[in-house]
């Protein structure tokens, strides 16, 4: 737990706040990000690019989930004067570094949450005006985003664990998420000095069932089409953890080859888990062959997925018919048998779906559930989106349904995307909660625990922090006819001209008695025909 500011020597009494060191050593830290962080006064930066959606009910609790598309949230230092300007510059520079269209982040999809997204690193005071959060749900992630991500690693993709990351295998997956996290942390347990930490995470879900001829056995070679050869020479730690937790107390259900040198047991996300550890830096690993191919074989065929239902999971959908109104419903499940806990829900809805806040209802077990904290910021047309943050108490073993109705706006024809009938995306809503764990967790030494457990700070052993994302929604808006601009202008101006013409005639002309005229040719012809018919002439 980070110690208070006054206990640290580089913190001057809380007046200026946390004095973060300048990034100066670029031996391991990439220079592009280091200069960026220093120039724009960034305190924390989290960028995630994700393709696909994490299916919590079939795959279990995600280690680190990110919403579909691109997500960027940044805490700026208190010394930054114009946060919006810095935010715009930051998103443009990151767009260039990661080859993603982050330059589409502007005020119409940026919000300032007040309760979610507290800093994950060291921070002194949390003025939420220094926080910016934006999601681009339409963003597609592909090889050109993976390449700059790999370039940030000290060894690149030439040595160490990153040799496995080849794009043609990684994108043959059901879920692919790459993230970059920059935050200030204590250099050691005594916290006498502060360092910048750059954490790059890659979460991929391979579907071995379809690619492995129906068997759930996997190996590194089958998944990545190459094996590990050596550790990165610049790395101080290079380990592979394989989850071999026994399910239903049955041992010997699966077999891992080669035999792991050590086994690590920990309580991760409320579950007791056993990991087989392969330390690439230990000389005994590459004794026999130059390559390490970790293989896992199941002794008995599995009937069905036995992953335990996660304690907290959620889903969201849009209902209603027609192009005028609709309803967004969010269902949050608390499957803990006896503990209730609160959850913070953050929803960002674009301005062209006009929310009716008076229709917001939260129902748990048939009764109305009043949130203890609501922060609502209404949208302004073409300027900022809706922001709805609520702290909802979830009773044990319950389903909470949150519904809100909206109306769809008609946009100007230039504001539609080139494929307007595909629909418009509503970004995922974010659920942040401290979930009580079923098994008590010991306070572990930060140095010893694997890296994948140390991103979120844990305050005590009885609960763990979870951030979940719901599905993004796809909503259709009524469209004008895009082939008609000239016709519409002509017709409307014709109607206005009809009025103008009639009024002009009536205002500027006066009545006169008509003087008889000889009549033109047409009249004479008509008179001749009339004489034949026996009708009086004109």
């Amino acid at each position: 737990m980070p110690r208070p500011c006054w206990a640290r020597p580089w913190c001057d009494g809380g007046r200026q706040g946390l004095t973060l060191p300048a990034v100066s050593h670029y031996r391991l830290f990439p220079k592009a990000l280091g200069r960026l962080v220093a120039a724009l006064g960034v305190q924390e930066l989290h960028l995630a690019l994700t393709q696909g959606f994490w299916r919590t009910r079939t795959w279990g609790q995600p280690p680190l989930q990110a919403p579909a598309g691109a997500e960027l949230w940044v805490w700026f230092q208190p010394t930054v004067m114009d946060v919006d300007k810095a935010w715009k510059e930051l998103s443009n520079i990151l767009s260039g570094i990661f080859c993603a269209s982050l330059n589409f982040i502007d005020s119409t999809n940026t919000v300032t949450p007040t309760a979610s997204f507290k800093p994950l690193g060291l921070a002194n005071g949390t003025d939420h005006h220094l926080l910016r959060y934006a999601v681009l749900p339409r963003e597609v992630v592909c090889t050109e985003n993976l390449t700059p991500w790999k370039k940030l690693l000290p060894c690149g993709s030439k040595a160490g664990l990153a040799v496995l990351l080849k794009a043609e295998r990684l994108f043959h997956s059901s879920y692919h998420s790459q993230a970059v996290h920059i935050r200030p942390i204590c250099r050691d347990a005594s916290c006498l000095a502060v360092s910048w930490e750059l954490r790059q995470t890659l979460t991929v879900v391979f579907d071995t069932f379809s690619s492995g001829q129906g068997k759930k056995d996997w190996s590194l070679f089958k998944m990545f089409s190459r094996t590990l050869t050596d550790a990165c020479p610049l790395a101080s730690q290079s380990k592979v953890y394989v989850d071999i937790s026994p399910k239903n107390k049955e041992k010997e259900l699966l077999e891992v080859t080669p035999t792991p040198a050590s086994v690590y047991e920990a309580i991760v996300q409320g579950d007791k888990r056993t990991y087989a550890v392969y330390d690439l830096l230990s000389p005994s690993l590459f004794n026999t062959s130059r390559s390490l191919n970790v293989q896992l074989k199941w002794k008995r065929p599995q009937d069905s997925s036995e992953l335990p239902t996660p304690v907290l999971h959620a889903q969201r959908y849009v209902s209603g018919y027609g192009l005028q109104t609709g309803e967004i419903s969010t269902l949050i499940y608390n499957t803990h048998p006896y503990r209730a806990f609160p959850v913070i829900l953050l929803e960002t809805v674009p301005w062209y779906l006009r929310l009716y806040v008076h229709t917001l209802t939260i129902i748990t077990k048939g009764k109305e559930n009043k949130p203890s904290y609501i922060h609502y910021q209404p949208a302004q047309d073409r300027r900022r989106p809706h922001l709805l943050e609520m702290l909802i108490q979830l009773p044990a073993n319950s389903i909470t349904k949150i519904t809100i109705q909206f109306e769809r706006a008609l946009l100007k024809w230039t504001e539609y995307t080139p494929d307007p009938n595909h629909g418009f995306y509503v970004s995922s809503s974010v659920l942040s909660a401290l979930v009580p764990s079923v098994i008590a967790m010991k306070d572990v030494d930060v140095e010893q625990s694997p890296l994948f457990t140390s991103l979120f700070p844990s305050s005590d052993g009885s609960s763990y922090f979870v951030r979940l994302y719901t599905e993004p929604l796809l909503v259709n808006l009524p469209t004008p006819d895009f082939s008609m601009p000239y016709n519409v202008i002509c017709l409307t101006c014709t109607v206005v001209a009809v009025c103008y013409g009639s009024f002009y005639n009536l205002l500027t002309r006066t009545f006169h008695v008509e003087e008889p005229t000889r009549g033109g040719l047409a009249k004479r012809l008509a008179n001749i025909i009339r004489k034949f018919r026996g009708v009086p002439p004109l």
Binding site: Y321, G322, L323, Q324, D381, R382, A409, L410, L411, K412, W413, T414, P478, T479, P480, D481, M484, P485, V488, I489, L491, T492, V495, V496, V498, C499, Y500, S502, F503, N505, L506, L507, R509, T510, F511, H512, V513, E514, E515, P516
Partner: protein, 351 residues
């Protein structure tokens, strides 16, 4: 609903007074021999004018448009009430109340500003002040009325400022009315026009459309300075058709006045076709809306076409009444049975 009843009552009282004024004026002009000898059938008699106020009130209350805007709980009913009270105050001759209600109406939606001219003309007529640019009493009265109006407007706006503690409401209310940012489909002409507009021209066309509402005032004032109540009717109709967010409640207000001009019936040229157009378009509006938004089998062009037809119907209705009014005035002064120089029956044309 209460506001609708108030509007109807206000219109009833206003038209009652107006009829008295019309009758007095008619008598005055007959005595002065301003009318041609053979126009007896054109003169309005008290008998036929007796039921007009009741007809006006019923026209407003029983109009399906009024019922619709009442069911929708639209604030248009409040707008109509304020304008009706303004008309009542003007016809009764109270300049102060007329200025106050006009300021209230302008404060709500900017367009009743154009009703300043007919009100001023009516009040000048009522005070028997001749409308000559050189007359001192004319300018004196105009200044008084303008001052009353502007002061009440300023007072109301400052009250809003103190209620809200910022001037944010001015761009939100008046900026919104003038710049038309929200393009939700309605029965007017603006929404589709600006939905399909190139960004480059949008400012130009917004200015053109807004000026279009306001610039009929001066020519109409010059032409109809002897008949300010008809001017008011035409002005309200122009506002209802060309305002940036029209609703059927606005149409109900000017349609309530049609019984007052029922004596013009014989001069209306296209009344049958126009009433058919208006009825059919009103019935087709919800059908095509449903087809576009819910059934998905039509697109926005269908609804837009009905909008165009409906607005053309309204425009032609107003210009038809205008034509009939001017024609009756011509006949009153020149006689009903016109003959040409050679003695045959003559035809009237606008030249």
């Amino acid at each position: 609903m209460i506001t609708d009843v108030l509007t109807a009552v206000a219109l009833y009282l206003a038209i009652q007074d107006f009829n008295k004024v019309v009758f007095k004026k008619q008598k005055f002009l007959i005595e002065l021999d301003k009318y041609a000898p053979d126009v007896a059938e054109l003169i309005q008699t008290p008998m036929e004018m007796h039921y007009i106020p009741l007809k006006v009130a019923l026209f407003y209350l029983l109009n399906p448009y009024t019922v619709m805007s009442c069911v929708a709980k639209s604030t248009c009913a409040i707008n109509n009430t304020v304008i009706a009270f303004f008309i009542l105050a003007t016809i009764k001759g109270s300049a102060f109340l007329s200025a106050v209600f006009l300021a209230l109406a302008t404060y709500q939606s900017l367009y009743p500003l154009t009703l300043f001219a007919p009100a001023l003309l009516y009040l000048l007529q009522r005070e028997f002040i001749p409308i000559k640019l050189k007359s001192k009493s004319f300018w004196l009265y105009t200044m008084q009325y303008t001052a009353l109006y502007l002061c009440s407007l300023v007072v109301i706006i400052c009250l809003s400022f103190f209620l809200l503690n910022s001037w944010d409401f001015i761009p939100s209310v008046y900026g919104f009315i003038l710049s038309v940012p929200d393009l939700t489909p309605n029965i007017g002409l603006f929404w589709y026009f600006f939905a399909e507009m190139f960004e480059h021209f949008s400012l130009f066309f917004i200015c053109v459309f807004q000026i279009n509402v306001f610039f009929y005032t001066i020519p109409l004032a010059i032409k109809l300075k002897e008949h300010p109540v008809f001017f008011m009717f035409v002005q309200i109709a122009v506002i209802s058709i060309f305002k940036s967010y029209p609703t059927v409640g606005d149409i109900a207000l000017y349609m309530a006045f049609l019984p007052v001009w029922s004596h013009l019936y014989r001069f209306l040229r296209n009344i049958f076709i126009l009433s058919c157009v208006l009825v059919v378009c009103s019935l087709l509006f919800p059908v095509l809306w449903h087809l576009w938004i819910y059934a998905g089998s039509a697109n926005s062009n269908f609804y837009y076409a009905i909008t165009l037809a409906f607005n053309i119907g309204q425009i032609l209705l107003i210009s038809d009444y205008f034509y009939a009014f001017l024609r009756r005035e011509y006949y009153l002064t020149h006689g009903l049975h016109l003959t040409r120089q050679d003695g045959t029956e003559a035809m009237l044309v606008l030249k």
